[in-house]
């Protein structure tokens, strides 16, 4: 089990519930979609899983570790095992495309020659060969999304997460991302993609969870009923 949420509740600072009693298990090597309308709480759920926030109640087991009892360094170590494509991509515009992709490797303290080789290979894989030194700010929307994808997978993460891949750039790039994620998934990486585009998620034969106003439903089970 890579991720296990048990009765997770998350409230905003104002006390308003964002996630209510969510339970979820992501198996190792699984490929999942998380669907739900905008504002349903998808991003909050992803932030909980990526340890960007703490749940108000409930337990979150990540890679077999109970995250409630971990210190900051241990939480950081778990985060390094996750690759994430953020909704707003979160590229650092003052860095080149290559340096953006290299961030997870450098954070992990990888030697520079390994950083260079991996970054060049990854950029080539997402169709940006030879563009490592291009300033990120000058890239098109689709190219920026590819840089974000390359950064998410550069360290071969055990859990790969994407937030709204269709909301940023073309559906074509989103398709490319799912294809790339499927290749990574075959190597054993667990994948979770959150999207408000249910039609997009349905195009792929993967298990779906659905979030509705903070309540988590198994979309496939719900559809079967």
């Amino acid at each position: 089990m890579v991720v296990k949420l048990e009765h997770i509740e998350k409230r905003a600072d104002t006390g308003v519930p964002i996630i209510s009693d969510a339970s979820l298990a992501l198996e190792k090597g699984g490929f999942y979609f998380l669907t739900g309308l905008s504002g349903a709480g998808k991003t909050t759920l992803l932030r909980l899983i990526t340890l960007a926030e703490r749940p108000t109640h409930g337990s979150l087991i990540l890679f077999g570790a109970d995250t409630a009892s971990l210190d900051r360094d241990a939480r950081a170590a778990l985060r390094r095992r996750i690759g994430m494509v953020f909704q707003d991509l979160r590229l650092i515009d003052t860095l080149s495309a290559g340096d953006n992709v290299a961030l997870p490797l450098r954070i992990a303290g990888a030697p520079e020659h390994e950083v260079r080789d991996n970054v060049a290979a990854l950029l080539a894989w997402v169709g940006l060969a030879g563009r490592a030194d291009v300033p990120t700010a000058t890239l098109s929307g689709g190219e920026r999304q590819r840089v974000a994808i390359a950064r998410a997978i550069v360290r071969r993460p055990e859990l790969l997460i994407a937030d709204e891949p269709t909301g940023n750039g073309s559906e074509e790039t989103a398709d490319l991302m799912v294809r790339i994620f499927e290749q990574i998934n075959r190597l054993g990486t667990t994948v979770l993609i959150a999207t408000d585009n249910v039609a997009f998620a349905r195009r792929f034969e993967h298990q779906r969870f659905h979030l509705d106003r903070g309540m988590l439903l198994d979309a496939d089970a719900a559809a079967a009923q």
Binding site: R54, R75, R79, L103, R106, I107
Partner: protein, 294 residues
């Protein structure tokens, strides 16, 4: 490994904002002020020690000019027998004339009622009973006057201690302000790069690495500011030392000029101190900011 980590920190892009560029100049100004205060302490200490050395043990007895030789001899005998008086020296009229020369010019003193002066050295280990001595002297020569110069250095010492306190407070305040400036710069850097520091946090960077990058940058800026401030302070001291002979500044300032190793010592000590304070302050400030991220 450390080299790569440093390279990585440099490329983390944190602290590349313009706000931190002011830090070296603020540190330079504060190190300049702290450096001058430090050198001021040395100068003051020197001056105090020099004056204490010459004045501490000295007393002067003035005996009216008309006093007969016999009475003078009695006074000298009395002084020599007084416990706590280490030496007694009756100044010859020629010596007295030399002392008065700056005020009176080289006029013959034979016709003037110049009092006879007796230099006394007190034994530093055995205090003479001056009240008793004055009583005895009054019985032999009623108009004699005993000047105790040791009162002067005591007052001077108290004043000097107060000035030393002010200078030490100046140094402390300057060092605290360096810390405050570094905290503000680091906080501004984290605020300006809030999305970057949060991204690094989300990508799994340990607090140590994120704060380390900014702390190392702050160290560099602190050291740079320290060097600029120390050089400026040294140039000021050289200029003051040069002016010393013209404006008749006290001798110790000339003595404690650039040739004095203590000046070099105190100024060069402020450089790493400024760097380390800036680094430690930035470290603490960033760690506090990061603690707000779960």
């Amino acid at each position: 490994m450390i080299g790569f980590r440093l390279a990585a920190r440099r490329r983390f892009a944190l602290g590349s904002d313009s706000s931190g560029r002011l830090l070296p100049w603020v540190v330079a100004l504060l190190v300049y002020a702290a450096g001058l205060c430090g050198v001021g302490l040395i100068v003051l200490n020197d001056a105090l020690r020099a004056s204490e050395h010459t004045l501490a043990a000295t007393l002067t007895l003035q005996v009216p000019a008309e006093t007969s030789d016999a009475r003078l001899e009695t006074v000298l005998a009395l002084l020599r027998q007084t416990p706590g008086i280490a030496s007694v020296h009756l100044l010859e009229p020629a010596e007295t004339a030399r002392l008065l020369e700056p005020w009176l010019g080289s006029v013959p003193l034979d016709d003037l009622p110049v009092p006879r002066l007796i230099d006394l050295r007190a034994d530093p280990n055995a205090e003479p009973d001056l009240a008793m001595l004055r009583q005895h002297l009054a019985s032999v020569v009623p108009d004699s006057r005993l000047d105790d110069h040791r009162l002067w250095p005591q007052e001077m010492r108290a004043a000097a201690r107060r000035i030393e306190g002010v200078l030490a407070a100046g140094i402390t305040i300057a060092l605290l302000l360096i810390a405050a400036a570094a905290v503000v710069a680091a906080r501004t850097a984290v605020m300006a790069d809030r999305s970057v520091s949060e991204l690094l946090h989300l990508l799994g960077a340990a607090d140590f690495d994120i704060a380390g990058g900014l702390a190392v940058r702050s160290l560099g800026r602190g050291l740079l500011g320290g060097v600029i401030g120390a050089i400026a302070a040294l140039l000021t001291i050289l200029a003051l030392g040069g002016a010393g002979s013209v404006v008749q500044l006290p001798a110790p300032i000339a003595v404690s000029g650039a040739a004095d190793w203590r000046v070099w010592g105190i100024l060069s000590a402020f450089v790493p101190a400024a760097g380390l304070i800036a680094m430690a302050s930035a470290w603490v400030a960033v760690r506090r900011r990061l603690a707000a991220m779960p």
